[in-house]
Symmetry: C2
Subunit: 434 residues, 2 copies
């Protein structure tokens, strides 16, 4: 029996998937154990479909036609967005068709409804390409690391932010300039909010946190902070400390809940994550039996993302062909994981304060920190720059509870001497020297 594939969307990733499926048909069919065939392609406009029509592939501008096509056994959703894909995927699953998607936003938002629907209809719902592009992280969490509890994970999972932070580190440029360069180089959108404010990363982190902890994590409840407040001074300060700044997704599974978050961190240069430069992605995981591991690769782009989609298609085709039971992720729709209170997280922190250049300021700040039980490991007071408002003070703390630290920062920011909100960055040191 030949397995028919229906592709929705002929944009960047969709074209990549079609290129791979049409040029590697034989080896992919051999791997699946059954012939694979592109049964239909759907896109909004005829001109997008023309190249595939010319190859003799049935095409349609109506997604309904593709979903109704009895020759389509696997629906590959690559259109992007929340609502339309959700409707299409729902209809596909209700008809017992399996689905492969790269749509992290849809799954982070509607996974709780879609995964049980897939299980109920005996269909697969696969999403390797939704997290980390070519990096086989979903496969690793579901299969390769099955003998381990992965209770700790840190990742660089947004290429745009990492490209910007890398350029800031390499050339000492500010955020705005690095963003412009990233936009010119095609690494950032005209409206970069989704990427630089951590939202894209949060979608992916929520999916990984769900797989790590075994209960659904709601990305809308996560602490998410982007990189737009990072300055050239912070990057230089990090460098002085032997660190780079990285926008990290962090997952820690505690007995009482899951701590899942996205925010910039200081990462020591000896840490494997510090060597992840430019638009590359990486996931660092610490499994109870595997020890520290890292998967590194291209997190986005046409062919890397398409490769992950195609690997899922091959797997699902093999399952359908052999009539194997599908993987049941219906627990995704079950009880939500309680989020571990971020205030209880402990670690060392980096603070950048902007304060008036007056005698006694240091003493007042030291008093606030001391009263809150925050122990300072190092304090550097930069000389006043003519024309700049106030002076910059950089403080590294010993291990503190985040709740206590943030309360102290609120008090510091309320001091009349403080001229700008304090920047707070966590040190991520797990796995250094591993």
């Amino acid at each position: 029996m030949s397995i028919g594939i229906g592709i929705i969307g002929t944009g960047t990733v969709g074209s990549g998937v079609l290129e791979i499926l049409t040029t590697r048909t034989e080896s992919l069919s051999r791997a699946a154990g059954t012939p694979l065939k592109v049964a239909r392609v759907a896109a909004r406009f005829e001109h997008e479909l023309a190249p595939w029509k010319a190859l003799g592939i049935p095409v349609t501008t109506e997604v309904a036609t593709l979903l109704d096509d009895p020759e389509v056994h696997i629906v590959v959703e690559l259109a992007g967005g929340y609502d339309l894909p959700r409707a299409w995927v729902t209809q596909a699953l209700e008809r017992g068709k399996s689905v492969v998607t790269a749509n992290k936003a849809m799954l982070a938002k509607h996974g709780g409804e879609l995964f049980p629907l897939a299980a109920k209809n005996g269909a697969e719902l696969r999403f390797e390409a939704a997290v980390g592009g070519a990096i086989p992280i979903i496969r690793a969490l579901r299969e390769a690391f099955i003998a381990s509890d992965v209770n700790s994970l840190a990742c660089i999972i947004n290429g745009t932010s990492n490209y910007i932070l890398t350029r800031m580190f390499q050339d000492g440029m500010g955020f705005e300039q690095a963003l412009k360069e990233a936009q010119a180089a095609g690494y950032a959108e005209a409206d970069p909010t989704f990427d630089v404010e951590g939202i894209d990363a949060a979608h992916k982190v929520a999916l990984m946190a769900t797989l790590c902890g075994g209960r659904r994590v709601d990305f809308e409840k996560m602490r998410v902070e982007g990189i737009s407040q990072i300055t050239a001074a912070d990057v230089a300060g990090a460098k002085e400390l032997g660190c780079v700044i990285r926008l990290l997704g962090l997952v820690e599974v505690h007995p009482t809940g899951v701590d899942a978050r996205v925010h910039p961190c200081l990462v020591p240069q000896a840490h494997p994550l510090a060597g992840v430069n430019g638009a590359m992605n990486a996931v660092f995981l610490d499994g109870s039996t595997t020890g520290p591991s890292m998967l590194y690769g291209k997190g986005a782009g046409k062919m890397p993302t398409a490769s992950a989609v195609v690997a899922d298609i091959v797997d699902v085709a093999g399952i359908l062909h052999r009539k194997s039971p599908v993987h049941d992720l219906s627990w995704f729709g079950g009880e939500e994981a309680p989020l571990f209170p971020t205030s209880d997280v402990e670690g060392p922190y980096y603070l950048r304060l902007q304060v008036g250049d007056k005698p006694g300021v240091l003493a007042r700040i030291a008093k606030v920190l001391g009263d809150s039980g925050i122990s300072v490991s190092r304090l550097i007071q930069h000389e006043a720059i003519p024309g700049a408002e106030g002076v910059t003070m950089v403080v590294d703390t010993h291990v503190v509870r985040e709740g206590a630290l943030l309360e102290a920062i609120a008090r510091i920011d309320a001091l009349p001497e403080t001229v700008a909100p304090t920047v707070v960055l966590r040190f991520y040191e797990k796995g250094v020297g591993a």
Copy 2:
């Protein structure tokens, strides 16, 4: 139907596998889709079996008893060595039992006979743990990167050598001292030959090269060189060039043959492989559609290796339970891959020459290099050290053909002025700045 597992060997990895199987039975059975049961354990001596017998697991000191046991569906071979394991695995496969092993030496040597035997008897033969411990590289090559031609791979796949090279780099110590330290720390055997001379790495590289190229690569025909000739001076020289020295396994699939080899290389510090320190392992692969990727983790040790064995057991149990067709690697027994002639490999090289401190030496060496068409990118002549024989000259070449280079080196080593054989290290630069 419950799937019975028979474990041969209760050494480090065997105990780890038994610990995981007996403590995580429920979650592993859920992942396999069927109950898993340790049906029998075999070891040479009763005292090795006592702890497992105490748990109520049937034990035996006769491997034949385990192989004959109808309750054993999956034979897990963790005894090590070449000949006995080969006989056991052969008998298991002939009885249609599937096999999971961590034995790279046996597979590198006898894979050509064992994989076809497995396919003929409808049995699985799995070996994730044989290459890179906890790193899921076999799974990646066979499944996750199925949509890519992985024509280029570089790996740090022997923890002992990497530990020694890391210590040499960090503390400027010589090979002998670093080896002693590695032995004291438990990272090197009393007889370290297998590890430091690249043989262990060659077994693993042959298996990966076979999967990359789709034809069996014979490890005995590979160019294999260890690290025992590397001196503190080489490590310091590499550092001056912004590089570290790493024992790399290299695979390049050419249309005319496979270039598979193991030897030390200079790796720029910006390369992801340069950040792989201590006993850690990593595989860097460049897929035609995935782009550069790296998998990093613990390449050895009780629990990391056991995790990979258990992940294979879970997979195989699922396949047996669902009566799915097994994966057919019988091509392993087919035509052998022609090895790409190492003399045709091109790249830049590092040379360390030891020559008499006489006028005119430099001119003679420069003439030999020039006559062979070897273009020098940088030459450093160290000052004579009192008491040392001759002076050290370090030469970095532009891109040259390895054959031409080695001919020139032979001529240089034959010069009366040359007091010790020249050390030749290749630069590995693929993927820097990726």
